[in-house]
């Protein structure tokens, strides 16, 4: 469990608001670190959920985006099993514990919830997973302010901010992915859990998962399956969804691609998401989904766009 953060949410219409400034751009301009980001630009309205230090939110982004105190709960390792996301829907949905966004990294599935119910959320999730034998009690990590103070006093990470080029562990590309995106309402979470369990039963692995929820409670979950076979032969989520969720509320796109990279202390540094997304925008590469979880950035792009995306990112990010 994380310490206390502020949850920021932005919705915008791409066609109308093309010139508007996105939340991650405002935060980067004000040198505010984003500790979690989930972005869904596949359709209008475009949704962005960010988590930042509590004191940073109003000044950087404007009060209208501030949704209050929130915390993160992370499950790891997810081993790319959709059943882990089913646990989120089941554990939190059945208990009506509010959550607002989810995004995955290479090993974590991170859930944004109200800070007041963070412990409750973690305990609910823990009922559905097997914790390792040496697992300690579920506890909130140090406050961000404390961590921030320590980072500033230690050259270990301060030095990162003056990198001429941002160093990474490499930029990974995944192709031939199948994106399944479903609009849902709170009471339908159990139905989605069953569908994800169905996919897990077929040994389907995911490359990326995210979900974003609007203030009225409806949301979109996007599961990017990594079939390891022609996407057309990948398990079909529609086979496990009730008809109401399969009609206009299910969207499937095949052969989508993913860019994924990871760098030292990315979770402690401002501007990483902004730089990555700007690189792609400047190269004319549409971003459909993106997430920053821990020190990992995941970006879903249309078919054929991952390799040009690597080239675009390489203008700013160093590849070993």
């Amino acid at each position: 469990m994380s310490g206390r953060f502020a949850r920021l949410y932005q919705e915008s219409e791409a066609s109308v608001n093309h010139e508007s400034v996105y939340l991650y751009q405002k935060l980067a301009a004000d040198r505010v670190n984003i500790v979690f980001l989930s972005l869904d630009f596949l359709r209008n309205p475009r949704q962005i959920t960010c988590m930042v230090a509590p004191g940073a939110a109003p000044a950087a982004a404007g009060q209208d985006h501030d949704q209050g105190a929130a915390g993160l709960v992370s499950l790891f390792p997810h081993r790319f099993d959709p059943a882990v996301m089913a646990v989120v829907f089941t554990a939190l949905g059945q208990r009506q514990i509010p959550w607002y966004a989810v995004a995955s990294s290479g090993s974590m599935l991170t859930v944004v919830t109200d800070f007041a119910v963070q412990q409750q959320a973690a305990e609910a999730l823990a009922e559905y997973v097997q914790l390792p034998s040496g697992h300690g009690p579920l506890r909130v990590q140090q406050d961000y302010d404390d961590i921030s103070r320590r980072l500033k006093s230690a050259p270990e990470t301060v030095a990162q901010y003056v990198e001429a080029r941002i160093r990474t562990y490499g930029i990974a590309v995944k192709t031939g992915l199948k994106l399944c995106r479903v609009q849902f309402y709170s009471h339908e979470q159990v139905l989605l859990a069953r569908a994800l369990e169905g996919l897990a039963g077929e040994k389907a692995g995911f490359a990326y998962i995210c979900a974003n929820r609007a203030p009225d409670g409806h949301g979109y979950v996007a599961v990017v399956l990594d079939p390891g076979q022609p996407p057309a032969d990948a398990p079909d989520i529609a086979a496990y969804l009730p008809p109401a969720l399969c009609s206009s509320r299910l969207e499937i796109r095949e052969n989508v691609e993913m860019l994924c990279f990871h760098g030292p202390h990315f979770g402690d540094r401002y501007g990483i998401a902004d730089k990555a997304l700007n690189c792609l925008e400047n190269a004319g590469i549409p971003v459909w989904l993106a997430g920053c979880v821990g020190a990992t950035v995941s970006i879903i792009v249309p078919p054929g766009m991952a390799e040009p995306g690597v080239e675009a990112l390489s203008t700013t990010f160093d590849r070993p």
């Binding site: 790891f76 290479g106 040496g134 140090q142 980072l151 030095a159 990162q160 003056v162 030292p264 020190a295």
Partner: protein, 128 residues
């Protein structure tokens, strides 16, 4: 040769997972910890041959963990390899090398880590 046992300590679960998978593929037994205090707690019950230890972690940083390992008779022979994330500006000084060595770590690897380099260092220390 008996199976060598390595503990990976970092507050970045993605890095812990990537390093652990690589070590397991080389037939090492691996334990994981996600901050310094958790590592020290686990070291009370387990005695790895080598600890891969991040520097900047919440609750207890890597320098302190390294000092505690090396100042305890029960654990002082555990090989400690520190992971450091010093950027360009500081890398020109001897900060990493100096502090890494004087804190009694046996070796260091700069972040972003080169996995092959890390495996070579592990092999060198464990005679694998």
């Amino acid at each position: 040769m008996s199976e060598k046992f390595i503990m990976v300590v970092d507050d970045d679960p993605d890095l812990v997972e990537a390093v652990s998978m690589k070590l397991e593929s080389k037939k090492f037994r691996v334990a994981k910890a996600y901050d310094g205090e958790e590592a020290m707690e686990k070291l009370k019950g387990e005695k790895p041959d080598l600890v891969i230890l991040d520097v900047m972690m919440p609750r207890k940083n890597g320098w302190v963990v390294c000092d505690e390992i090396k100042s305890n008779d029960a654990t002082k022979n555990i090989v400690v390899v520190m992971l450091t994330a010093v950027g360009d500006a500081v890398q020109s000084t001897s900060y990493t090398h100096h502090d890494g060595k004087t804190t009694l770590a046996d070796d260091y690897v700069p972040k972003p880590i080169d996995m092959d380099q890390l495996m070579e260092i592990v092999d060198d220390h464990l005679g694998a």
